[in-house]
Symmetry: C2
Subunit: 214 residues, 2 copies
DNA sequence: CGTGTCTTTGAAGCGAGTCAATCAGGGTGG
DNA sequence: CCACCCTGATTGACTCGCTTCAAAGACACG
């Protein structure tokens, strides 16, 4: 797998890795830093589709049509590994297990997107933000970082875009969670005080949705 | 590709093809009929993730973890082809082009899900329903069916679940589009009177969002 | 130290949700 | 063949949560 990495690319904060419409030639694995992908609707619409941190993969959106269908931008200085798609494909034919491995990665992307759809379709602001924070902290934990003290790399507007909320609502909801003693929010520095409460909110505990199957 | 189809399965309306948690062994191509896939949240949450008609593929959700993560149910009597995943994988190694082909299919699923996310995150009820109808009719047209006179195979509640709306809102929005002379709705029979108007709504024309980039 | 960007907070408006009643069909059994 | 019933669809009135518009506050930068 390592033999595939043909090049590394360093991105400054705000720099674009690839754009909607760009020819799809490679996937990118994040080595360090923090990125976002977003789709720009023709009118004012623009939605963040995902945030990527070290270890995450970008670019699968381009597999379908040989062209990327979203934009990838670095939210802080970052470094990515380039994985040429043609090489990956031919290697899949030779190396046993790699094919399966790659399919799992694509499958995970599908499952993740569907979970996001669930969030966008059915949750209220408080639940969305709680789910977002839990997702972020669990990913940080898996990478050996603190899951308690988090520095958000994205703006309120970007969080809102991802969660289908307006930036004011995000800000207000942060404040609400702080007042409830669940989070400690100071600008982009967030401390998770009560992770269980966050989970309880995500599970619908905060709304009277509790009955077993109605 | 045809050599892969090991078996056909006939489903009666309401019958389940696979369930969340089922072992993933095969993909399914719809031959005839109409299905839905939905995820059941632990509490009352339950969301339709997609509707499938002839030619569509089901089951990609299981690739990631060897288990399905959603339920597939027939909305009318249907017939599906079973494509064993193990066989597909090994065939991908032998038949040139098949690998690429399969990756495109997975890629399309990713792109489709992201478009749905865009819909759920940013559109209002009227826009969502218009997009839904246009999507349905374009798929029907591609299959040689009428793109004007449509019979909905799913209930208002299922439409609402897919679009992140309540069934009453779906019903009301249908009525609104009928009053506007854009649709002719009689229960589950829908006639598209003005497809351009639907597209205009999807593009944000109905809300004063029209300025080029604000 | 100003200046611009991002964030927080307030007040008012509106769209979708909720609760509830009625209506339309489809199927069943008398 | 028709009356009945059950499910799904429509419509209305009211509520609530998110958005919108507006203003002030917090930092980061030159």
């Amino acid at each position: 797998m390592a033999s595939l990495v043909s090049a590394r690319r360093t991105l400054r904060q705000g720099e674009t890795l690839f754009r909607d419409g760009d020819r799809f030639v490679a996937l990118y694995a994040v080595r360090t830093g923090f990125l976002k992908t977003h789709i720009g609707g023709r009118d004012g619409r623009d939605q963040v589709t995902a945030f990527q941190m070290a270890g995450d993969l970008l670019g699968l959106d381009g597999v379908a049509s040989e062209r990327h269908t979203c934009n990838a931008v670095a939210l802080e200085d970052s470094q990515v590994c380039m994985i040429p798609y043609a090489g990956l494909e031919s290697l899949c034919r030779e190396v046993p297990g790699l094919l399966r491995q790659f399919h799992r990665v694509m499958g995970r992307e599908i499952v993740r997107d569907q979970r996001t759809m669930l969030l966008l379709a059915g949750m209220r602001a408080e639940e969305r933000l709680a789910a977002f924070i839990l997702n972020l902290t669990s990913r940080l934990r898996a990478r050996g970082f603190s899951a308690v003290a988090v520095v958000l790399r994205m703006s309120r507007e970007e969080i809102g875009s991802f969660l289908g909320l307006k930036l004011e609502t995000v800000s207000r909801t942060f404040s609400k969670l702080q007042d409830a003693g669940i989070l400690d929010v100071r600008q982009r520095h967030v401390r998770v005080v009560d992770a269980d409460a966050l989970q309880w909110i995500v599970d619908g505990g905060a709304s009277h949705r509790g009955r077993t199957s109605a």
